[in-house]
């Protein structure tokens, strides 16, 4: 069974249709890249998968491990293993990263009927993960993303990904706002989390991210549809010839 299956998805935002019948099948262990110009609907897709309010699904379905994802509350999706690494992670003043991660992890465990993790055990776990990602301890004590640099915010997203051990990770424009060094660190973090059980969907405008996170499948999106799919060589092709050729195809 596929891990994530998007079938003929149609989505509107305030009367305007953004996705016009998008389909996508992601199997465990795979890394899919979704590329496309601005406004092609890439971020909309990631938001709808995660359940962000404000989008109206007018047709199609999303199955996650065979179950209807659209019927689930956003936090329920998270507990089942859908993780969205935000393009713009928000700042939450006054809430320490450490406290936030603990609350979120326990909420997920509780929802899955697992036992909550105690403070000391959690502390140990976070420290280990943080260390492996080169995240300094003091970052955990600061408010969630408050005063973080672009690179720190993205690393915080990857830290959460590592901690929550999701089944599907959607990385929305992970490279935006990162310089090449920060990008490499973030990509290393993501690569370390690749596993035969886990799938990743990497949404990006540029090919350069895919030099670091090498995809198994590349999809080109234009005007709310997948217009072409192929192997990693498709990304290189795009780099050379641009998106224009696909805009006519859409």
């Amino acid at each position: 069974m596929s891990l994530l299956e998007v079938k003929d998805l149609q989505v509107r935002v305030e009367e305007r249709e953004i996705l016009h019948g998008l389909s996508l099948t992601v199997n465990p262990g795979q890394v899919h890249a979704i590329m496309g110009p601005n406004g092609s609907g890439k971020s909309t897709l990631s938001h709808v998968i995660a359940g962000k309010p404000g989008y109206e699904v007018t047709g199609g379905q999303i199955l996650f491990k065979g179950e209807d994802l659209l019927e689930m509350e956003p936090n329920e999706r998270a507990a089942r293993g859908v993780f969205l690494a935000f393009q713009y992670p928000v700042e939450i003043p006054g809430v320490t990263t450490w406290n936030f991660l603990h609350a979120a992890l326990n909420a997920q465990r509780k929802a899955r009927g697992e036992e909550e993790i105690s403070s000391p055990a959690f502390l140990k776990k976070v420290r280990e993960v943080a260390k492996s990602l080169n995240i300094p301890q003091d970052m955990l004590k600061r408010g969630v993303n408050v005063g973080f640099s672009g690179g720190e915010k993205k690393r915080n997203e990857i830290l959460q990904m590592a901690l929550f051990e999701p089944a599907v990770c959607i990385l929305d424009e992970m490279d935006s706002g990162l310089d090449i060094d920060a990008l490499r660190i973030a990509a290393d973090g993501v690569n370390a989390l690749r596993s035969p059980e886990r799938a990743m969907v990497v949404i990006t405008h540029y090919q350069r991210l895919l030099n670091y996170i090498v995809p198994d499948v590349v999809h080109v999106m234009s005007k709310g549809r997948v217009v072409k799919s192929g192997g990693k060589e498709l990304a290189l092709e795009l780099e050379e010839s641009g998106y224009a050729q696909f805009e006519d195809a859409a």
Binding site: A50, G51, K52, P53, G54, E73, P74, N75, R77, A78, A79, F83, L84, F86, P89, V90, E91, I92, P93, G94, V95, N99, F100, A103, A104, L105, A107, Q108, A111, G143, Q160, F164
Partner: protein, 498 residues
Amino acid sequence: MPAVQETVERVRRIDVDQYRYGFETVIESDKAPKGLSEDTVRFISAKKDEPAWMLEWRLEAFRRWLTMTEPTWARVNYPKIDYQDLYYYAAPKPKKTLSSIDEIDPVILKTYEKLGIPLREVAILEGVEPPAGGEQTPSRKIAVDAVFDSVSVATTFKAELKKAGVIFMPISEAIREHPELVQKYLGTVVPTSDNYFATLNSAVFSDGSFVYVPPGVRCPMELSTYFRINERNTGQFERTLIIADKGSYVSYLEGCTAPQRDENQLHAAVVELVALDDAEIKYSTVQNWYPGNSEGKGGIYNFVTKRGDCRGRNSKISWTQVETGSAITWKYPSCILRGDNSSGEFYSIAISNGFQQVDSGTKMIHLGKNTSSRIISKGIAAGKSQNTYRGLVSAHRKATGARNYTACDSLLIGDKCGAHTVPYVEAKNSSATFEHEATTSKISEDVLFYCIQRGLSQEEAVGLVVNGFVKDVLQQLPMEFAVEAQKLISISLEGSVG
């Protein structure tokens, strides 16, 4: 449905009827006749076995009160209070003189137990870890002066305090045992003529706490009192007087809960703080009186006058409050910065829900040279409540070098509530430096979604964000209180998000 819309829906379903502390203790009580007259004042004074000067002081206040009118400037609406339809004194009937906690009426003890109030030492210390590092910090003990309705029924830690020279007792006792101290300080911060409610309090105050910390003494423990309004139609008129003599330090905690009632109950307390040279007083309040039911019926009317006088140079007074209860809150804990280099602080969290009305803030009155003050106010309005910050910062002609920083932030949950900010910034001195900033906004939907994507429920997400919003103030509370306050905020929000 957008996330915030859901929150709004939940706020509409708020069930403040399930007020956790709404139970009534059935005990016999000793009441003054209903209504207010010179006779009532004499009755109260006689009950307390007060000296003649005290009665005279009360009567003077009462006569003054008769000439005054109830203030109307605050943004609160309530039906007219019939002052003749209230009882002004109620005391649990004394069985005998108490020598230990065990002798307290078990019904009363039970009440405290339900409230989770740590009257016994063991309970107080249980589960409370010393702060990290644990160096020079005095042991985290709390002495509780429990005020049940109007009369103190138990005082713990008396012996240890006595050893340090700290006087901590019901003010009724202090009037008898330390008349020279009471006479010297009572009414010097909040004069009997101060305002309608304070004057009423001066005439009929029933009891409260008295603290005197002698020169150079750092009070060995946090002093704590819990108030409950229990008697039907009983006005509560607490009077608290705290004096920190030269170079001393004291931290005082005040917590309140009241059982549920249909009629509104009037509470008009007066708290006076005096800090002499180099002294420091920290006064913390957690207030969760009954806010009324989901139709806005019932609830406490809380008209409080709290004022601290930084009388000596280098003195410091710090107010911290967490206000979640009462149908009406009218409260402005203030600092008179009289001594040179003195400083005042006001940290406040005011949460209103249902039909609650809050009009609270502070006054920082800079009189001495190089005085400084700091105001951090966090208002959270939900349901159909109205939440107003009202604050005055003033520097007088001779207050050279006065400084103030004020930050007032308001958070709105739902579109049926109101959040208002009314600051008065008055400088009569060119060397005064005042900075004030205020913001009003709602919880960002993006932030809520981020939390929910990480697996938190809507309520958990709101709770987390609100706790982050008020963090700067929570940090000012003594540790034991901070935990209780955080719980209280969650309970208040539990009501507000379903």
